[in-house]
């Protein structure tokens, strides 16, 4: 506690951060009997490492290019250990209506939208990880799209960790799309070092009336990384919010994704592919909270689990009493490619309205031997046949990505891991 207290002294907003710290200390990490973290190593989690606030980026432009990421010809913001690195970022061609700034600066300088939404979508009072992130927030990224602005170039946020020693980082993102705004965001989370880094990520999304926001997240921070990722969104009427998450590596990855379509005629699409090998533990907890009528949500989560990996999927859909004419669909499918891989899956539908369409499906199985044989009988090697079927399995999700280069890149990345 003393260690934390002294650290908060130098923060931009000691008062807010002190309150968040108090929340964190009050809530604490998930307890041994936590139902929400039933299968997760985050129960009884302790912070074993130093809290890193100073980024020491040694990455060069050439190094950045070597990462060979797609969608880098538009706007690029490079964050290292949660801090903006302007030398590597490229926002020269920033279109009118789009505003990008380090989040703490935006708040301190009094950006109205930043102040209005920060900490309102993901609340420190309710969640220990959000509180921890808020307490130690030192930089972060603020993305603001003005009313009626459709942002043509893709915004690529490159979120990197680089540490010599084991460390904890607290990346933060706030995206505000005002009414009628539209933006497509790609985030790649990669690690440049082998140190065991714990990333406690929080992103908040405000999707205004008639706005359209899509978000594509690649999680590939290496086998020594641990990531707790909270994504929380609020949608206004007639808006569309779409997320695609591809998880490829990480010692432990937990994604808490909370979607609140908070008005009528919202469309929410959440898609994910998990490819796990070795000892990976990937835990997705999604929550779609239909509060008002005429909403639609489509959820599709796919796991390809090999080695001794573990997948957890807990998909909660709430349809509140007022949310008549809700159309909610959830699908969770898993292929286990080894005998030692495990999946725990739990669809959780709570429906309090009577005129709704809700469906969910969960299926777990092994590779389809008959399909493999068919492909081999057409000359494909066992490995090529296997890859083709697994890519097709993931294709239900990747096929929904409208950014061609990204879709191609993700398919290649998936293929490499199979």
């Amino acid at each position: 506690m003393d260690r934390f207290a002294s650290e908060t002294q130098s923060f931009p907003n000691p008062e807010r951060q002190r309150r968040a710290l108090e929340s964190f200390l009050g809530l604490g990490f998930p307890k041994a009997k936590s139902e929400k973290y039933k299968y997760s190593p985050f129960r009884n989690f302790t912070l074993a490492h130093d809290l890193v606030r100073q980024a020491v980026p040694t990455l060069t432009v050439a190094g950045l290019e070597a990462l060979a990421l797609p969608e880098m010809d538009g706007l690029v913001v490079v964050m290292v250990n949660g801090r903006w690195v302007s030398a590597l970022s490229n926002i020269d061609q920033i279109p009118k209506g789009l505003y990008l700034q380090p989040l703490n600066e935006a708040i301190e300088s009094g950006h109205e939208a930043a102040i209005r939404h920060f900490g309102q979508v993901a609340k420190s009072e309710e969640d220990a990880f959000v509180a921890l992130n808020t307490a130690f927030l030192s930089d972060g990224l603020f993305v603001h799209v003005g009313a009626g602005k459709m942002i043509e170039p893709v915004l690529h946020i490159l979120n990197l960790t680089q540490n010599e020693a084991d460390a904890t980082v607290q990346p933060r993102l706030l995206v505000v799309a005002e009414s009628g705004a539209s933006i497509r965001i790609v985030e790649s989370r990669l690690s440049l070092s082998q140190a065991a880094v714990f990333s406690n990520v929080v992103s908040e999304w405000y999707v205004g009336e008639k706005a359209n926001v899509s978000y594509h997240l690649l999680q590939d921070s290496g086998e020594t990384s641990t990531e707790h990722h909270t994504l929380s969104s609020v949608q206004e009427a007639d808006s569309v919010f779409t997320t695609h998450v591809l998880t490829l590596s990480g010692h432990v990855v937990r994604n808490n994704q909370n979607y609140l379509p908070n008005a009528e005629f919202c469309e929410t699409n959440l898609n994910a592919v998990v490819v796990a090998n070795g000892q990976m533990h990937v835990d997705n907890a999604t929550f779609v909270d239909h509060a008002l009528p005429n909403g639609t949500s489509n959820e599709s989560y796919k796991h390809i689990l090999g080695g001794k990996s573990t997948g957890v999927f807990n998909g909660k859909i709430m349809v509140r009493q007022d949310a008549q004419k809700t159309n909610a669909y959830q699908s969770n499918k898993t292929i286990l490619t080894s005998d030692e891989a495990r999946i725990y899956t739990k669809p959780e539908l709570e429906i309090y309205a009577d005129d709704v369409k809700c469906s969910h499906g969960a299926a777990t199985g092994k590779m389809d031997e008959e399909a493999l044989f068919y492909l081999r009988a057409r000359g494909l090697s066992a490995s090529a046949a296997r890859k083709m079927l697994l890519i097709a399995f993931a294709g239900d999700v990747t096929g929904k990505i409208s950014l061609d280069a990204l879709r191609k890149d993700w398919n290649e990345r998936i293929t490499e891991r199979l």
């Binding site: 044989f373 081999r376 009988a377 000359g379 083709m388 294709g395």
Partner: protein, 253 residues
């Protein structure tokens, strides 16, 4: 081309093939007929290398090589083609991607360069015409939502693309209407030549009106019990399989 000697095969411990002997020369079309459960499809599966079939005795040489030693994909690359009785639906696997991967895998094995996109599309167009296949099918997932007839045409289409030395047609006529049967047969006949052999497995004689075989064999209880020319098929059509079974019983007695 294909020499099968004393082939015995079992599934889950049950012996199904009990000593099959058969020799197929280059360019020959052999029909294998037989009642249900006689082992016809097992024979096709064993030749193509389906894993759940265990060969307990005997040998098969294909173009001089030990076929049973090869993996299923090696057999395909060496020029053995199985037209499936039940073509498998592959949701999410695009037809064009699949066909291209298949054709190029076989080409690579044979030491040929992969086909360029343009050359591949030209080939596809040409072979599609052979089985009167709708072009739109190549934009779909493999066999997904295809009608029974479309699936069987798709098999023959793939055969045409891969240009095998030996094609095994496993009940390709089952479930077809007369138009589809004619189309499929025309496709097969167009591919007949002096070097390509066919093993046509069928329950009914009708297919052999269209694909006229050089030889007809009757498989009963895991053995070829009678061989002849196409007239044998007509006789079977007329009398059914019972008379052969009776003959066998008499012989045994």
């Amino acid at each position: 081309m294909l020499v099968i000697k004393n082939l015995h095969a079992a599934v889950e411990g049950h012996e199904i093939l009990r000593g099959v002997n058969l020799t197929v020369g280059p360019g020959e079309v052999h029909a294998i007929m037989g009642p249900n459960g006689s082992g016809k499809s097992t024979l096709a599966s064993v030749l193509a290398g389906r894993e759940e079939y265990e060969v307990t005795e005997g040998e098969v040489t294909f173009d001089g090589q030990a076929l049973l030693e090869m993996e299923p994909d090696e057999r395909a690359c060496e020029g053995l083609f199985l037209a499936f009785q039940y073509p498998v639906e592959l949701p999410g696997v695009n037809m064009t991607t699949f066909l291209r991967e298949s054709v190029n895998s076989v080409r690579k094995y044979r030491g040929l360069e992969p086909l360029s996109g343009a050359a591949f599309l030209k080939l596809v167009k040409e072979k599609q015409a052979l089985v009167e296949m709708k072009e739109s099918l190549t934009n779909r997932s493999v066999n997904e939502g295809f009608s029974g007839g479309e699936k069987k045409r798709n098999e023959i289409f793939q055969m045409a693309l891969l240009e095998p030395k030996l094609a095994v047609l496993d009940e390709t006529d089952s479930g077809l209407d007369i138009d589809a049967l004619r189309i499929v047969s025309n496709g097969v006949n167009a591919l007949r030549n002096a070097n390509r052999s066919f093993l046509v497995i069928t329950h009914y004689q009708r297919l052999l009106d269209y694909i006229v075989p050089d030889f007809v064999h009757v498989l009963v209880n895991g053995r070829i019990v009678k061989s002849g020319t196409k007239e044998l098929a007509l006789e079977l059509e007329e009398k059914g399989y019972d008379w052969i079974k009776e003959e066998l019983t008499l012989e045994a007695a």
